[in-house]
Every structure is written in structure tokens, then in C-alpha cells.
């Protein structure tokens, strides 16, 4: 069975000594079995297409005076449609717009002072964030100090770059607090890595950017920043069909991350815009029937 071996790209493998004591699985770079197909390129293209429409979500993060604020919605819609490569065997059509869950955890806790957000393929994000958490812990043990946010995001970006073109779908933000202060990086499955102060990722991101950019200031207090993040997610869930459920807000400060709130966006709508029955509407209704 063919295996792709990426150990050459991974610089953080420790020197091999006492290898019998440690489990080979942990130290070896992840390698995945490739399927036995006649047309591997065609299979790859179809696999990439299968995951492409799935970035239905809204996540955002921004740096401010007191650290990093991270927020996300919680809806998962089923991505995927007729996969041409498998048409010969069986035709399966997945409803692209089924809201499979309203309670997906999209903010992943890598370690007590670093958070990652999930957009794109859920399995891809969960696996690679956990893998990143393992690498960060190994770095801590090998170097007796915590890894920086820049370093952690670089590790993830290098791994994703090595799988470029193979159909991973990951659009994540790594947010944390290290010795040089708050850190926020955007990393995606095309291999891109950007340092920045404000990011939003997912199909609802244009709507979130609108609210975030107009309300942002570096000197916000923690409560105001949390309310800005919550409102930006709420507005994105209102306009975007693929976002919804619960708006979770986390704050990463010098002491690590803390979950601030998880509010149902359905109820948030009616607290921002309460229903007021107006007498004008009543009169107009009477006229219409007559």
C-alpha cells in the first residue's frame, strides 16, 4: 500500500534515541494511505470538489487592548454533492442545504492559552488542530518553554502546505497570548498564513466584517468587545443561510482563554428587535378584506 511520507518537511522531530520506549505513532509524521485507483488525478480533483462548498459558517477574531476576542456560530450544513468519480458505483446525492446540526463546537481549545477556529471541513479542522496541540506540547517539553503563537501557526501552515491540492478544506484562525503579547494568525488549506488584527472566515464573513469594522476600536473594554463580537455573529447568522444556532464568544488574555458567553441567535434577534404590534397595521388589514 502506498504511503506519502512527509517527515522530510517536519523539522521538529526529536533526535532518535530510546526509540523503543516511545510509541512510533506519536513521533512519526502523519502519513495517510492512498487509495488504489486507475485515475488518481481524477480522483483527487473530484475529492477537492466534494469538500469545496462546505465552508458554511461564520467565525471571527480580533486583537484589542486586553487580548484577543474570538467568536463563532454553531451551525453545520452538510457539504457535498454528486461525486463524479463514484457515479459508476452508486449515485448518492447529499442535500447541500440540510442544517445537520445547530450545536457544533467551532472554537477548538488547542491548549490553555491558544484557541483555533473551525471553518471548512469539520473533520479536517478537528484532526489538524489536535495534531497541532500535540506538537505544541512536545515543543514545550523539548524546549522547556511555551511555543509562540507565530510558531504554532507556522507549524500548522507547513503541514497544510504539504497537503496542498489534496482536498483538505481548512480556514482557521490561531489566536493566543504569548510573551510578545496577543497573537492572531489566519491559516488556510491553500497554505496561506497571514498575521493580522481583525479576521473573519466563512460564508457569513462579509456580513460579520461589516459590523466588526464599523464598531472596532483598539481601546474597547472586554464587555464592549464581547458585545461587538456577539453582534457581528448575530448579523451574519441573520443574513447567511449557512450560519446559525448559538453565538459563542471567547476571550484570550494574559492568563489564558475564557469562554464568555454562548447565546442562541434566535432569541438574540427578538432582544435586539422586539415585536411591537402597531395600530396602523391593524387598520390596513381591515381595509384589505373589505
Amino acid at each position: 500500500m502506498m504511503k506519502i511520507d512527509f517527515s522530510g518537511l517536519d523539522p521538529s522531530l526529536p533526535v532518535k534515541g530510546n526509540a523503543e520506549d516511545l510509541d512510533d505513532e506519536i513521533l512519526a509524521a502523519p502519513s495517510f494511505k492512498l487509495p488504489v485507483t486507475v485515475d488518481f488525478d481524477g480522483f483527487q480533483k473530484a475529492a477537492v470538489q466534494m469538500v469545496k462548498p462546505a465552508k458554511g459558517t461564520t467565525t471571527l477574531a480580533f486583537i484589542f487592548k486586553h487580548g484577543v476576542m474570538v467568536a463563532a456560530d454553531s451551525r453545520a450544513s452538510m457539504g457535498g454533492y454528486i461525486c463524479k468519480a463514484l457515479l459508476i458505483l452508486n449515485l448518492y446525492k447529499i442535500n447541500l442545504y440540510l442544517a445537520a446540526s445547530q450545536s457544533v463546537k467551532k472554537i477548538i481549545e488547542i491548549n490553555p492559552y491558544m484557541l483555533g477556529t473551525m471553518a471548512g471541513g469539520a473533520a479536517d479542522c478537528q484532526f489538524w488542530h489536535r495534531n497541532l496541540g500535540i506538537k505544541c506540547r512536545l515543543h514545550e517539553l523539548a524546549n522547556k518553554r511555551r511555543i509562540s503563537v507565530a510558531g504554532a501557526s507556522k507549524l500548522l501552515a507547513n503541514i497544510l502546505y504539504s497537503y496542498r491540492g489534496m482536498g483538505l478544506s481548512v480556514g482557521t484562525m490561531i489566536a493566543g497570548y504569548d510573551e510578545s503579547g496577543a497573537g492572531l494568525y489566519y491559516v488556510d488549506s491553500e497554505g496561506g498564513r497571514l498575521k493580522g488584527t481583525r479576521f473573519s472566515v466563512g460564508s457569513g464573513s462579509p456580513y460579520a466584517y461589516g459590523v466588526l469594522d464599523s464598531g472596532y476600536s483598539f481601546d474597547l473594554s472586554v464587555e464592549d468587545a464581547a458585545e461587538l463580537a456577539r453582534r457581528a455573529i448575530y448579523h451574519a447568522t441573520f443574513r447567511d443561510g449557512a450560519s446559525g444556532g448559538v453565538a459563542s464568544v471567547y476571550h484570550v488574555g494574559p492568563g489564558g482563554w475564557k469562554k464568555l458567553s454562548g447565546d442562541d441567535v434566535g432569541e438574540m434577534h427578538y432582544s435586539y428587535y422586539p415585536i411591537e404590534p402597531t395600530t396602523v397595521e391593524q387598520e390596513m388589514a381591515d381595509v384589505r378584506i373589505a
Binding site: 442545504y97 447567511d240 443561510g241 444556532g245 434566535g266
Partner: protein, 228 residues
């Protein structure tokens, strides 16, 4: 097998925009909709969601999908919004002419045949709509039916559904429906079925619109739903 295989499931040869490798149903998922009609004891209820979207983006949350033909006949139209508006205008025109000639309103069974004929006229370039017709016929007996986009009628005695949320709606109605419900209980049932189904569909929801029709009155209600 309760539901007949409807024609649009097999429209694999239709090229709609760039979606030729998506299969047939994508044009029906462009705007998003959810429609349901239910029969009660000498009354009926017809309900829809209120969203108008362009794929995932929501444009309006007060879009009308149920139209009144006459005081006891309603038609709900699911599918591509531009086609539903044009089709409604065509049907209202035909009914007004009928009313002038016959000096009476159309019976629901006749109207259903009219809709079916109008849709089949466009057999090889159809309106991308799925209508749900509900009315009170002779002796105030409730009549409901749905059809596919080229006019295949499906009559039912209990409930009919249409739209992008139709699969969830089938499940919800099948479990919540009871025969011979009174008006208020029918309203509760149809509202719960609609709201719980659209909460599972990304393309429909953002409120609900219910018409409850008895021989003596028509009640129109707006439902408070999740706005995400």
C-alpha cells in the same frame, strides 16, 4: 410508497447555468421555500415561510408565497421566485376572465386542472415552480393538492408539502397530523410542523405565514420563528 416520483427529479438533461454537473434540483434551491397545506374538519390551513434568498444570502424576510385567488381558494407557490410571481399573475388573469364569463368563482378542483394545463403548456421549457392549491369545494369540503413543475397533480386527503424543506415537512406532518382537527388545533399543528421543519433547512424560514380558512372566516397569522 406515499409519494409519487415527480417529474423534476429526473430532469438530468436540463442545463441551468453552470450547474450541469450538479444534477437536476439546483434551480429549485436558488431562492428557497417551504409550503404546507393541511385538511381539518370543514376547514383547511395553508402555511409558508417568509424568506427570499439568493442561494445562501437572505434578501428579504417578508416575501409572499401564498396568494389568494378568491375568498376560499389559495395557491402557494414554491421554487424560483421570478417564476412563481409570473405564474401567479397568469393564473389570476385566467380566473378573472372565468369570473366575468361564468359570473361565479372557480371551484378548487377546476382551478387545479387549470394550473396543471398552464404548467403543461410549458412542458419543454417549464416554470420552475411547485404549486400547492388549497380551497373549499362544494358543501364546504376542503380540497388540497400539489403538483410538480410540469403539472402532474397529486391529490391528498391529509396534507401536501412543497419547497426546499419538503423532506423535513413530510416527516413532521406525518407524525403530527390527525384527521378531523378543529380550526385552532389545525393551526397549532401546521405551525409546529412548519417551524420545526424550516429550522432544519438553511434556505427557508425567517418566520412563517399561516392562512386558516373556514366556511365563515379567513384568518391570517404571522409566526415568530428563528431568524437564522
Amino acid at each position: 410508497m406515499r409519494r409519487k416520483a415527480l417529474a423534476f427529479d429526473h430532469f438530468l438533461h436540463l442545463n441551468v447555468g453552470k450547474c450541469s454537473n450538479f444534477g437536476s434540483g439546483v434551480i429549485f434551491e436558488y431562492n428557497g421555500s417551504a409550503l404546507v397545506a393541511m385538511v381539518g374538519k370543514n376547514c383547511f390551513a395553508i402555511a409558508s415561510d417568509r424568506r427570499l434568498g439568493v442561494q445562501l444570502q437572505t434578501i428579504a424576510t417578508d416575501f409572499q408565497k401564498i396568494y389568494r385567488i378568491h375568498h376560499t381558494l389559495f395557491i402557494g407557490l414554491a421554487g424560483l421566485a421570478t417564476d412563481t410571481q409570473t405564474l401567479y399573475q397568469r393564473l389570476v388573469f385566467r380566473h378573472k376572465l372565468y369570473h366575468l364569463r361564468e359570473e361565479r368563482d372557480m371551484k378548487p378542483e377546476t382551478f387545479a386542472s387549470l394550473v396543471s394545463a398552464v404548467l403543461y403548456e410549458k412542458r419543454f421549457g417549464p416554470y420552475f415552480c411547485q404549486p400547492v392549491i388549497a380551497g373549499l369545494g362544494d358543501d364546504d369540503k376542503p380540497f388540497i393538492c400539489t403538483m410538480d413543475s410540469i403539472g402532474a397533480k397529486e391529490l391528498a386527503k391529509d396534507f401536501v408539502v412543497a419547497g426546499t424543506a419538503s423532506e423535513s415537512l413530510y416527516g413532521a406532518c406525518e407524525s403530527m397530523f390527525k384527521p378531523d382537527m378543529e380550526a385552532e388545533e389545525l393551526f397549532e399543528t401546521i405551525s409546529q410542523a412548519l417551524i420545526s421543519s424550516v429550522d432544519r433547512d438553511c434556505l427557508s424560514g425567517w418566520g412563517g405565514h399561516v392562512y386558516l380558512v373556514t366556511p365563515t372566516e379567513v384568518t391570517e397569522r404571522i409566526l415568530k420563528g428563528r431568524m437564522d
